[in-house]
């Protein structure tokens, strides 16, 4: 039994060691993550996928940090590892109290990391504000659960109120609409190092998904809450993808991409909560797990690619091209774009299949499902454009020299995504695996989406990877190395002196949707994205402050007569309310 807790003990030990020995701390974290990874084969259900995802991300980011974090102070390593320790505690939790403990252990070092590397105080405070809102709501959900079940353990619930409150709490941490600022602001402007940004974006938000899923599995079916989640998810997908596409701050782009991915997961969770059909429900559950896995690993790749540039804005990128880096980045970005042959392609396909199958449920859920599926597909289109921006504009137009561990970490991320795609038939439940031997697709290699007995859609990931590889090799063997002829581009007859840049690349959408996106130029002549939901919140806060001022000066102005009038009015109001109840 004690061996079960070895990874958890090791990671807390790593926190202490890292204060003095940074590299040793990261190595122990990687080892603890590997051990944690091994447990995922011991306890097998779909929830276990989250252990697998988290472990892969922690291993990659720990290895990346060995080289990357040299340029940061001594506190980065312990805070980074403590954040991971908090997340591991969450994954170990089988009751609300341990979960909340883990949630706080995860959150506090995170906003300390933002605060230590701050440009100004606001980012850390906003991060803390939304983290604590989420904690308060999760505690409320825990108390409510205790009220209904008499225990803090995760047990079956007969009421969906716990799920609703818990989900709103988790949403504010995941940066879903309208709380998008809690995700992008600390990442983009809090100067969080890339390794921390990677775990904030890839696994911290994943803990929210994990928590909601855990409670959803205990809760009854609820179409209303399901549709609410779908709406929030879809809005997050669209705005997240759009804002990612127009972001000039690379980390901001990553943050918005996470919002988009979390939106997809939230919408899928909504469908999961609303659906009663066990076959479809299980398929949605696997879709969530696969999508979350793809998102987390690929997002890690994205952030370490950004961190590798050493700068924040696309306009400042000056690093050379490296083939190893580019191959890894290509597959990681393909995954985040929902394209084959990567795990993200499979995850996106499964989520979209879930929604399109949801159309057969008819009624409001069927309509919501088909609309959500279409809008998510549209959001994925914008996401592809955003990922192309990262792929193309995170290195300059010249070749780099020398080898770098960071480049190989990025390659490792990309290869992992392709490998997991190829072997995905092993991680999808048996009910959805089949084959068509008559066309040489043997049993066990084909993934089917299904609503009932018959299949809805088919895919054979291993065949895709093999065919792509085989044809590439055949072409290479037949035609040899591509004979490249380099010719100078015709530039109207004058010397070529300009390159298309990231800002011009995405300016079409800024112009087309300028009323929605409210893009503006900052004092440093940089194009900035304006989160309209945050603007609305600020406006509401200002309106409230004005109202409070008005109340203070006009009503609560130390005038005895005004107080007496106020008390009489309040007294009458209470009598009316009590009599109505």
């Amino acid at each position: 039994m004690i061996s079960y807790y070895i990874p958890l003990m090791a990671i807390f030990l790593a926190v202490l060691i890292s204060i003095k020995y940074r590299t040793a701390g990261y190595i122990i974290t990687a080892i603890a993550s590997v051990l944690f990874f091994l447990f995922t084969f011991r306890i097998f259900d779909y929830i276990t996928y989250f252990y697998l995802i988290a472990a892969i991300v922690w291993i990659i980011t720990s290895v990346f940090s060995i080289s990357y974090s040299k340029k940061y102070g001594r506190w980065l390593a312990p805070l980074f590892i403590l954040t991971i320790a908090g997340m591991m505690t969450i994954l170990y939790a089988n009751n609300f109290l341990v979960f909340i403990t883990g949630w706080e252990i995860m959150s506090i070092p995170a906003y300390l990391t933002v605060a230590i590397n701050k440009k100004n105080d606001m980012e850390a405070y906003i991060f803390m504000l939304f983290s604590e809102i989420s904690t308060v709501l999760i505690i409320t959900a825990a108390v409510l659960s205790y009220y209904y079940t008499g225990t803090f353990n995760f047990t079956g619930l007969s009421n969906d109120m716990v799920l609703l409150i818990f989900a709103i709490g988790a949403m504010s941490k995941m940066g879903l609409t309208p709380f998008m600022i809690s995700e992008w602001l600390p990442i983009a402007h809090g100067s969080a190092p890339a390794n921390s940004s990677a775990i904030f974006s890839a696994t911290m938000t994943l803990m929210g998904v994990y928590g909601i899923l855990k409670i959803a599995l205990l809760s009854p079916v609820s179409i209303d809450i399901g549709i609410l989640f779908i709406i929030i998810g879809v809005i997050s997908v669209l705005f997240g993808a759009l804002y990612a596409y127009i972001s000039e701050n690379m980390k901001s782009l990553g943050g918005f991409s996470t919002i988009e991915n979390n939106g997809v997961l939230m919408a899928a969770l909504g469908l999961f909560v609303a659906v009663n059909d066990s076959v479809l429900k299980e398929f949605i559950l696997i879709s969530i797990a696969i999508f979350a896995m793809a998102h987390s690993i690929a997002k890690t790749g994205l952030f370490i690619s950004i961190g590798h540039t050493g700068v924040e804005y696309f306009s400042a990128v000056n690093g050379g091209k490296d083939t190893v880096n580019q191959v890894g980045k290509f597959f990681a970005m393909s995954s985040l774009s929902g394209l084959f042959p990567s795990l993200g392609g499979l995850g996106t396909w499964m989520v979209l299949e879930s929604f399109f199958m949801g159309a057969y449920l008819y009624g409001p859920l069927g309509i919501a499902s088909i609309i959500a599926g279409s809008l998510i597909a549209m959001g994925e289109g914008f996401a592809t454009a955003a990922m192309l921006k990262i792929f193309y504009f995170t290195d300059s137009h010249r070749k780099s020299r020398g080898k770098n561990l960071e480049n190989y970490t990025i390659l490792g991320t990309g290869i992992t995504l392709v490998f997991l795609f190829a072997v995905s038939f092993l991680i999808v439940g048996k009910n959805y695996i089949s084959g068509i031997p008559s066309v040489l697709v043997f049993n066990g290699f084909m993934i089917e989406s299904r609503l009932g007995v018959s299949d809805f859609g088919l895919i054979t990931p291993l065949y895709i990877v093999i065919l792509l590889t085989v044809f590439t090799v055949i072409i290479f063997l037949v035609f040899g190395r591509p004979k490249t002829r380099i010719a100078n581009r015709w530039n109207g007859g004058v010397e070529h002196g300009e390159y298309y840049n990231s800002s011009t690349y995405s300016n079409n959408i800024r112009l087309i949707l300028k009323r929605v996106l409210r893009t503006k130029s900052t004092d440093e002549n940089r194009v900035e994205t304006v989160d309209i939901f945050w603007l609305i919140m600020i406006n509401i806060a200002k309106a409230y402050r004005n109202f409070a001022k008005f109340t203070a000066y006009k009503i609560m102005n130390s005038s005895i007569s005004a107080y007496i009038a106020y008390m009489i009015a309040a007294f009458i109001l209470i009598i009316i309310i009590v009599s109505l109840v």
Binding site: G492, G493, H496, E498, T504, N507, R510, L511, N525, V527
Partner: protein
Amino acid sequence: MKYYKFGDKTGRYIGRTEKYDIYTSTITGIGKDEDDHEERTQGEIYFNYGPSAGGLRESVNFRLLTPGESIRDVIINSGFKRRNVKITGDSISDAMLKVERINGFHSASHSIAYALAVEDALNVENGDLNDARIVEIELERIRSNIDVIKGLCESAGFAVPEKQLLLLREEVARIISSAFGHRYYFSVNGINSIDGDFSRISLSSIEKQFRSIYNGLLSSKIFLDRLQENGILLNPVSSGPAARAANFRYDARLDSESLIYGKYSTVMETSGDTFSRFLVRAEEIFESINIIESYDIKKSYRKHRMELNGTGEGTARIESPAGDLFYYVNINEGRLIDIQMCSPSYLNMRNFRYGLKSGNIFTDFFFVWESFGIWISELEVGFQ
């Protein structure tokens, strides 16, 4: 110089020669140019177009300052087509051969403006050629305006009206060729002389065909959408159709005495956009036909070579199809010792830039460019 004097600026600005700034009745030294370009900001690029690229009739280079899609400014380099014409020292009749080749498409305007300047310098009485010269210029205006509208159709991808207008332009060129012996008026105009048979000019078919195409274009919502609120220019320092499209009644036919027009109605529009310039150009075709028909010249002129040996300075300003065209000559015993020319393309090029940077995007570029009817050939010519 009957119509101009050197001194302080008076009236509206006409443009710039190599040595002078020209106003409606005065010539001044070149003033300070305060035409600063926009600063390039973070994320913006200069998108290069030309000088040798599809869609450009003449060599000109544009560097469009853009954050992507929208055009914030443009740096124009028209110097690729720079021609330095050795002309000083030539006799005034030999110089005509060079002047009429500065811009073949507007050869009548250039050769007549030059002839008028020489006649002003040498006090040659030219009143009896006034009407015939007006007819020549108006006929040239018809062809030029058809060409501009053709360019707008080409920009919109309207291949059918574009080809119809090309045919119509060719028909006008054939009328000119039939009446004057050369479709670009070469060797037609001389000092106090014209060579042409005006009885061969018949425009009833041209008017009918153009009206049909014009009505067709006006009924196309797609075409109008591409032109309206695009390339807006409401600059009082402008000339020709671009000025009249912005409700400025600027017209050398009204305020220059080099050629005396009879009854004539100025076509005006108010919006200053590409669509307004299109309307002005189109309506001026009908107006030019009216002017030509009102003179109803049926006679034939024979050119006679005049070798004049006088001395003096002279100027002329006429309304060429694109706006004010000004010539100044200084003659010593029948030979040119100085010649200055200010073409409408000078102001039009400046205003094209202002029009383009007024909230336009890449796809608006060609519409704005074509609507000004700029000729680099007359802009980039130097006299030596």
